[in-house]
Amino acid sequence: MRNRTMKMVVAYLLTIFILLFLNFLLPRLLPGDAILAMYSGHETLMTEEMYAELVRMHGLDLPLHEQFFIYLTELAHGDLGYSYICHASTADLIMGALPWTLLLVGTSFILSAVAGIVLGVESSWRRGGRFDKTLLTFMLLLDGIPSLAIGITSLTVFCLYFGWFPSTGAMTPYSGAEGIEYIKDVLWHLVLPLATLTLSMIPGDYLLIRNSMLLTIREPYVLTARAKGIKNRRIKYLHAARNAILPFATRIGIRIAYLITGALFIETIFAYPGLGLLTYHAISNRDLPLMQGILTVSVILVLLINIVVDLMYKKIDPRVGYAY
């Protein structure tokens, strides 16, 4: 167990090192002037004194290690920098967008996991049958359709052609709706992005669970359970599926990273005001501080989820504790 914890800690430290490298060192290693980049468009108005004053104000005249120390202190205080394009604190912009992404990604994670597990278990149980073959072919095809394509198609069909769902935003602006009406409005805006993200995640979950189930149902204990005359449904879900979802549990951290990537495209397509759309705006305006802030937050988010999964994993699979 100590070995495992050690590995975890080293990996996390390395992740954070890569993050710091990207956010702190890379911009300083590259050619170009930070001050001119920040105030681009106003260079002609800038005098020598103003330039010197700005360099001093931003601490760019300090030695590198002192700059790094300041960077870490600010980061620890939750200061992610200032966006010179939006004229707002990066942390505020991100905090405004984060809840929407969490709503989208969290709901989609649960829905796709449940659908993937149930379909995978049922499919593997009826291996080679018509249900299994149809579902497998369907899932393989669905797996091939990128989330980008699903999103664009559903936007065209359901928003523009039929006009059933709104094409932008997470709620109707200035509607003044409260209580139930507000929740209804938010859900109505959530339907299409959520459906797209979930549909793009289900095949991966399904194929993983199906393959893992195919191996699990050949275990002797499943045969024993059958011999004891336990009901099929009980064997499927309480005996076999419990072990078959282990590979799924290991991959939760990776899946979250995938989901965040998927959300990036889907939020852009549906103009859903989460981190993805914020990233898109940051790209189109070349807003570097905002990009760095988003990278920091998403890495910390994924790391936290990984830590939780790692801690829970011993509970899910007690063998892990003994093996090391």
Binding site: V10, G128, L140, I145, P146, L148, L223, L264, F265, M291
Partner: protein
């Protein structure tokens, strides 16, 4: 190896379907300069022409022929997929196999680095790198390869570790075979399934990433790319333009077909090389 991979593959309907599809797309992409009726970088008719005999998919907002653009974009996608998959697999194999053979501190550093990369949302890193450097295709290919190698390296390392303990490898060693000979003759062939699987999987991710990143506007806008086509077509999505059928749909379908074919092939490879998943293995239930 007790499996005849090519014969097994020929028997697998799903795999063959994927292969036929990818060969079709591949040929189209290679022949793009021959097939394309117009220069996709030049004005060829007035803007927003509906599909006609002269312009199979009509023209876009600045009068470029969409069909020609599509062919060239497919070329970019496939090139990107092959390049990234090759570089990623090479990095993965070298790091994975060497980590297993050398071991010790080197092994630990490589593997923890792989763990660390797994937790970072790849796309955010790419976006940041693309924002710092000029986003040329080469830079993006290299950047993408640098963040995708970890799964390959892990697989290669695990397999090499288990091969190292095999009796025939020990026998070869005892008869005085040099390490390079053992690598070439005994270890590399056994790694082939992993290599094939990794190549297809990574090509698939790369194709998706290329389309996605160019959709977000990271690519050089003069490159022909499926993602760029989609993002421009999205701007004229309003029903009154009526361009979604001939402008938006083609790149969406092309991208889907490309990714589906790679997905089918990777599924078939997985089933062939993991004998436990094979259909002729009768399960007790």
């Amino acid at each position: 190896m007790h499996i005849k991979p090519f014969q097994e593959f020929a028997k697998d309907k799903i795999g063959v379907a994927g292969l036929v599809l990818i060969l079709f797309l591949f040929t189209t992409a290679i022949l793009a300069p021959v097939i394309a009726p117009h220069d996709p970088w030049d004005y060829s008719a007035s803007a927003f022409q509906p599909p006609s005999r002269e312009h199979l998919l009509g023209t876009n907002d600045i009068g470029y022929d969409i069909f020609s653009e599509l062919l060239w974009a497919l070329r970019t996608s496939i090139l990107f997929g092959i390049a990234v998959a090759t570089i990623t697999c090479t990095i993965g194999i070298v790091l994975g196999v060497s980590a297993a053979l050398i071991g010790g501190m080197y092994d630990m550093i490589v593997m923890r680095l792989a763990d660390a990369l797994l937790a970072i949302p790849t796309i955010m890193v790419l976006i940041l790198i693309a924002a710092y450097f000029k986003p040329s295709t080469t830079v993006l290919i290299i950047a993408l390869s640098l963040v995708l190698w970890q799964t390959i390296a892990r697989g290669m390392r695990a397999q090499t570790l288990s091969l190292k303990t095999k009796l025939y490898v020990k026998a070869a060693k005892n008869t005085g075979a040099p390490t390079s000979y053992i690598m070439y003759k005994h270890i590399m062939p056994e790694l082939f399934p992993l290599y094939a699987m990794g190549f297809v999987t990574k090509a698939r991710i790369a194709v998706f990433m290329e389309a996605g990143l160019s959709f977000l506007g990271i690519f050089d806008p003069t490159t022909k790319s499926l993602g760029i086509m989609m993002s421009y077509a999205m701007r004229y999505l309003d029903p009154c333009f009526g361009v979604w059928f001939n402008w938006l749909l083609p790149p969406v379908v092309a991208l889907s077909l490309l990714i589906i074919s790679l997905g089918l092939i990777s599924y078939a490879i997985e089933e062939i090389f993991d004998p436990r998943l094979r259909r002729n293995n009768v399960t007790p239930i």
